[in-house]
């Protein structure tokens, strides 16, 4: 059993190297930095310093987030590559609290996509890990990292968390600094957090949240349930989410029916905002180095650049409507959170361009962003927590969308879900898969 930070870091690095082929979570490992930091942390504790709240936890950092002296490559063929002189604020805070950064995790190119083709799902390596923070999620699910940083602009943390059977948080917009994080869409970007369980994710959030905005109002726990959203998911997903909600009700949580704005509205807002803002953020690179982007991202940026100012503003006006409607539901029904499936379907097969949803094959990203777009548009926090397995043994996540700065309540609810049989089955399947991988490849 690894007991020191140094031992734990070395073990994580060994496992990451061994699983490079079957899982491929990392774009680059940073063994020297990790071991040096771990030894310093161990020395400090040996000298009498109190260990930080994240002492010795191996940390994976998505490759759109800066680590000083380590190349940031964004998953692009060349655009935006650089070696930052300073770490991102979130990395600074996590490592100052004792976390040991072990490497840069693969990202879907420019964090613009929900597959992460470089990485496979540790639960079933024939399946995708999801994205865009796929490397970060896979590193945690495979047992390499205890915690990971991702980003979540339109679901990029919640999606791979759901598919890999772990917990993923999109925090309240602005609660965690984005300094040192490559932009995608300024008004939707957040740093996302990933961990195997809600308690560890909450610990990471407490370290990183510099603008917690005070506590959200505490009160009786009332969860709005969008039955339409649950019914619209694939049958296994619907069943697992319904069972988790029944289980929550059994713990004293009051369930209230709510009809959220239809997913296509938030999705349309997100599509226009994201493409327009990404095109603006990367305009110079697109002009000077178009081949530095893959064809899909180049196309997305070009299409975004063709949008008119009026189109962008219409999306922002529609955002105002969506925000008002959701806030109205939360206030009128005095909700702590709203529950939906995180994703309508489980992990697609690696290499597939489409996945079945609603009895037809549809593009993967269009399916996976269906329920994640809403919180991205409104700026609310949202957590994905494992809640069950489908018939193929693939993980299913329940999404809980909270009030702004209501992360604490979300973690409490997520911890309740984790105690239910469906969630425990996911944890068991994930641990068994990680054990199988380690036994075969190390």
């Amino acid at each position: 059993v690894a007991v020191t930070a140094s031992e734990r870091a070395r073990e994580a690095l060994r496992l990451a190297e061994a699983l490079a082929e079957p899982v491929g979570a990392f774009a680059e490992l940073t063994p020297q930095l990790a071991v040096d930091a771990a030894e310093r942390a161990d020395d400090a504790v040996a000298d009498g310093s109190a260990p930080g709240p994240l002492h010795g936890l191996p940390l994976a950092v998505k490759d759109v987030i800066d680590v000083a002296g380590v190349p940031t490559r964004l998953g692009t063929p060349g655009a935006g590559h650089r070696v930052p002189g300073a770490s991102a604020r979130a990395v600074e805070l996590a490592t100052a609290a004792g976390a040991i950064a072990i490497g840069k995790a693969h990202t879907h190119e420019l964090a613009l996509g929900m597959v992460t083709p470089q990485t496979r799902n540790p639960i079933d390596t024939g399946r995708i890990a999801g994205g865009s923070s796929g490397g970060s999620a896979a590193a945690v699910a495979a047992g390499i990292a205890a915690i990971a940083l991702g980003t979540d602009t339109n679901g990029s943390t919640r999606c791979p968390a759901s598919l890999c059977g772990i917990v993923g948080l999109r925090p309240t917009r602005g609660a965690i600094s984005r300094r040192g994080v490559a932009p995608l869409a300024w008004t939707q970007d957040t740093v996302g957090l990933l961990a195997a369980d809600a308690q560890t994710c909450a610990r990471l959030y407490t370290v990183l949240a510099e603008d917690a905005g005070g506590r959200s109002r505490a009160g009786p726990r009332r969860v709005g349930v969008d039955r339409g959203a649950i019914a619209a998911a694939e049958p296994a997903v619907s069943r697992a989410c319904a069972e988790a909600l029944d289980g929550l009700a059994g713990t004293g949580v009051e369930l209230v029916d709510v009809a959220l704005p239809e997913p296509a509205l938030a999705g349309s807002v997100a599509a226009v905002v994201l493409c327009a803002e990404a095109a603006a953020a990367w305009r110079r690179e697109l002009a000077s180095q178009p081949e530095g982007f893959g064809p899909q991202v180049r196309a997305a940026l070009r299409a975004g650049a063709e949008l008119r100012a009026g189109d962008y503003l219409d999306a922002k006006r529609a955002r105002a409507l969506v925000c008002a409607r959701v806030r109205g539901d939360f206030d009128r029904l005095r909700l702590t959170a709203v529950a939906t499936p995180t994703l309508p379907a489980t992990a697609a097969r690696a290499g597939a361009a489409t996945i079945e949803s609603g009895r037809r094959e549809r593009p993967i990203d269009a399916v996976y962003s269906r329920f994640t777009a809403l919180a991205s548009v409104t700026g609310q926090p949202a957590v994905s927590v494992p809640c069950g397995l489908d018939g193929a043994g693939l993980a299913i996540g329940l999404q809980l969308i909270g009030r702004p700065h209501g992360e604490s309540a979300l973690f409490d609810l997520a911890a309740e879900v984790e105690r239910l049989p469906g969630s425990r089955a996911v944890a068991g399947a994930r641990a068994a898969a990680a054990d199988r991988l380690a036994a075969r490849w190390t």
Partner: protein, 60 residues
Amino acid sequence: VTDSPQPSGEPGADPDPGAPGPDYEAALAAYRTMLERALERLSAEPLEGVEPALEPELWR
């Protein structure tokens, strides 16, 4: 979205862009279609008199 055969990128959402291959021109056409559909969807909303929320409003 890299150079994988994956479709629409994260903006996908409900305005289904189809499933382009890795080809740039096909991807560009798909993104244009997706955005057109998104704008059509937005035009169905009663936006008269609504001021744009440039950033999400965080409430309590």
